[in-house]
Subunit: 191 residues, 2 copies
DNA sequence: ATATCAAACTAACAATTGTTAGTTTACAAT
DNA sequence: ATTGTAAACTAACAATTGTTAGTTTGATAT
């Protein structure tokens, strides 16, 4: 076992390829070639192509689930909770944008139990964020406009952050966090 | 030629399948089966699988390009232009969400000229929206916060609208338009 | 009745897919 | 020196892929 073991190297390499072309369009030979080995050699480390997908997606999904539960259970004001959700997405995007892209685009290629597990986590995540917003409205912190639109707008942006981050001139995590909070909390117009 | 000809039926059917599983994971036999014919029969109507993808994506992309240019050239206030962009995405989402999903997820499977053409349209679209925001800042209509964050947040939401629209309890195009404008222009917080 | 033609069919192809079996290599520990 | 082991290899497989060639069907117009 090295500092980063071979299996992890394969997972990371695969995630990068999946990000660019999608799970289905990437072959085991593609992954092998990127690592400068033969396709059959991959099977010394992983069980199947499916397993690679599962390992990429589930770990990230569980992290989202875990942190979201922490945020939900805290007794901070709603605005603070929304900020922490934004922070969570930024942090994971910076740490592992390849896996995030894969989670977003290729989750439907999971099968059976793993697929059901993922879908449940995803639904729970959305519902928990919905609860945060709803609670904010009840506490008078947040406008009583269409809550669904708020929920999906914010989550859409956060989920596709990986498409933007690092693309234009570099922006720090702190600045991104600040700008996004400002945008969603106060809007874009003057006055 | 019927009211809706066979080729269009194939395109629409394929778009729906592509939406669910992605271009690469859908086989010609899948498309054929959904139409209750054999795969080889498809080739009486279309030239290749690639052609289906091109026809789905390019038409929509050109529509976005065309309308964006109209909006950009108008002399309406910035806020009005942003609202019209929102309106554009809502309209196309409602009319053809399958094709929109395909454009979003499978554009990278275009090849050669079509790929270059698409990428150029996409870049132009983003740049044009960026110009609208920038102009709004210069006119004093919009806050001088991080403009990039505004651009990508709004476009992210608009581009993934197809994932949400029609999912929860139905909301009219007008109400969606109103809620989204309100959200982005004024934010979610009270006061 | 005959000809036309769109649109389906059957059968097959060459290439590519994920995967398995069995073997070799190179280095570390005994 | 011998053994063990991680990690590569070659060769091949059965299935699936997009696609082509040639044929049949069924309705419409002459």
């Amino acid at each position: 076992m090295r500092i980063i073991d071979r299996k992890t190297e394969i997972i990371n390499c695969a995630a990068q390829l999946f990000k660019n072309k999608g799970y289905s369009a990437v072959t085991m030979r593609d992954i092998a070639q990127a690592l400068d080995i033969k396709a059959a050699s991959l099977y010394n480390h992983i069980k199947s192509k499916q397993e690679i997908l599962v390992l990429i997606i589930i770990e990230i999904a569980e992290e989202f689930t875990r942190v979201m539960n922490e945020i939900l259970e805290s007794d901070a004001p709603t605005i603070n909770k929304v900020e922490r959700v934004i922070q969570l997405h930024i942090a994971i995007t910076i740490r592992n944008s390849d896996a995030l892209a894969c989670l977003n685009n290729d989750w439907m290629h999971l099968t059976d139990d793993q697929l059901a597990y993922f879908i449940r986590m995803r639904e729970d995540y959305e519902n928990n964020f919905r609860k945060i917003i709803k609670n904010g409205v009840e506490q008078g912190e947040i406008k009583a406009n269409n809550q669904e639109v708020m929920v999906f707008s914010i989550l859409s942006t956060l989920r596709t952050l990986y498409l933007w981050y690092g693309k234009t001139k570099k922006i720090s995590a702190e600045e991104l966090q600040k700008s996004m909070s400002e945008l969603y909390l106060k809007g874009i117009t003057n006055k």
